[in-house]
Symmetry: C2
Subunit: 246 residues, 2 copies
DNA sequence: GCAAAAGTGTTGGAAATACACCCATGT
DNA sequence: ACATGGGTGTATTTCCAACACTTTTGC
């Protein structure tokens, strides 16, 4: 912040020392990170929840979170939580919003920064040995502890929007995937059905899929071809937004 | 946050008291709000800056900000700053992002929540009696103090994107405006030139403009018709996003 | 009457949608 | 052979971009 003024109009130049004192004397606030960790499995979009460790919320599910250390960057804290809970790999992580209602936490003033994370469930399945940790179908998430329901919904909406504008979805899939899997992913996240032919057309027209010349194994029907996403090409061709539309 | 664990796997139910102690004992952090206040004047998009009150940044401009009080909601703090500096009216306010690099502030650890605000400059001109406060052309903002350059750019980009998807722009205009003014606004914010006929067509097709049957006064050419924005109608017809496109 | 901006339609191309049939594989 | 999903093409519609002239007002 730039100014510590109680009224407008003060314009003395302050020394660093004065500001330091102000920072030190102001009521400080506990800061936390909460992670909304999305995964994709069995053609469903899932979110990773843990049982609240607070008696008040006994039995209710909550997001994974932790307090931020005084010497820790925000993103660092979010990565730390991911690492502790899932094993950290192929992680997409994005800060979404900060929630700071005065009474949002029963233990006192805790402002929390919500992060949205996308992980490939196959790679992390093993790490969930703790049975208080569970993948929930996003359509079946209700009554979370604290203000976590609100946080979850905000992050889910953000995901729905972002996935249509950026190639985030691939973070949820195995490196090699079929077009059917890709479409299932989009349908699960957006809650819609799409025309298969037009879906293919759209993605092939984008020209960011690399044909691996491999096919699915162990499917009880004609196997589909496998693809991977061409991140390099995407980075170069990234589209600039234009067009007023609301 | 939901869990205060140092390793995964802990699953005892904690009492409120235990968590309170943890919150109290954890290193707390000073929290601030920084406002990126946009205005529109003389066909330019402007941002309101103040001279840094820190000697280290002597002469450099910075955003308007202040520390958050322990009993104050985040949005409340942002509104307070707006009120102190501009007079608070017709304000559009939106939380954008939280910045928390460990060393972003020379006075110690200060995490800041950036807010973007759009105000109608005509209504607030008078309040800027403090000559350390100044409206800068957004194209001429460089070398701000702290990490404010980054914050400013993030907010500006957010604005550019949001204004194309939501009718924010009207917060920057007088209640009655001509189509020319509206187009100038979009061109200023997006840094583009648009075709006048297509611009009109687009806005009339949306059908959110109310023809006031009034015309501009004191213009040295054929006066344009004046319109206002129909917020109610917009709220009802709000478009749902659809379409993968990146 | 001249300068300056307001106001107005049409057309062609691109992109999105809707839609139906044959193909490859496992059982 | 049949069930299941993979793979392909075309016709229609909708949306967007490009583009030029006439009108109104102040001077």
């Amino acid at each position: 912040m730039s100014a510590i003024l109680d009224t407008a109009g003060l314009k003395n130049v302050k020394t660093l020392k004065i500001i330091q004192d102000e920072v030190a004397s102001t009521q400080r606030i506990a800061l936390s990170v909460d992670c909304v960790i999305f995964g994709f499995d069995e053609n469903k979009l899932k979110v990773l929840l843990i049982r609240s460790d607070l008696k008040k919320y006994n039995g209710r599910w909550s997001l994974l979170g932790d307090l931020i250390d005084g010497n820790e960057d925000l993103d660092e804290a979010a990565y730390r939580i991911l690492k502790q809970r899932t094993g950290l790999k192929d992680v997409y992580l994005e800060q979404v919003q900060t929630f700071g209602a005065v009474n949002r936490h029963p233990a006192g003033r805790v402002v929390t920064i919500a992060y949205c994370s996308l992980i490939n469930i196959q790679h992390h399945k093993l790490r969930i040995f703790d049975n208080e940790l569970h993948w929930h179908d996003v359509n079946n998430v209700t009554d979370l502890a604290f203000d976590h329901q609100k946080i979850f919904e905000t992050c889910y909406q953000r995901l729905q929007k972002r996935i249509q504008e950026h190639p985030l979805g691939f973070n949820l899939l195995p490196k090699k995937f079929s077009l059917r899997e890709l479409q299932n992913l989009y349908e699960a996240i957006l809650g819609t059905k799409m025309d298969r032919r037009n879906f293919r057309k759209k993605f092939f027209a984008m020209d960011f899929l690399i044909d691996l010349d491999e096919i699915e194994q162990d499917v009880p029907h004609r196997p589909g071809k496998l693809y991977k996403f061409n991140y390099d090409k995407y980075e170069k061709k990234k589209k600039k937004w234009s067009g007023i539309d609301f």
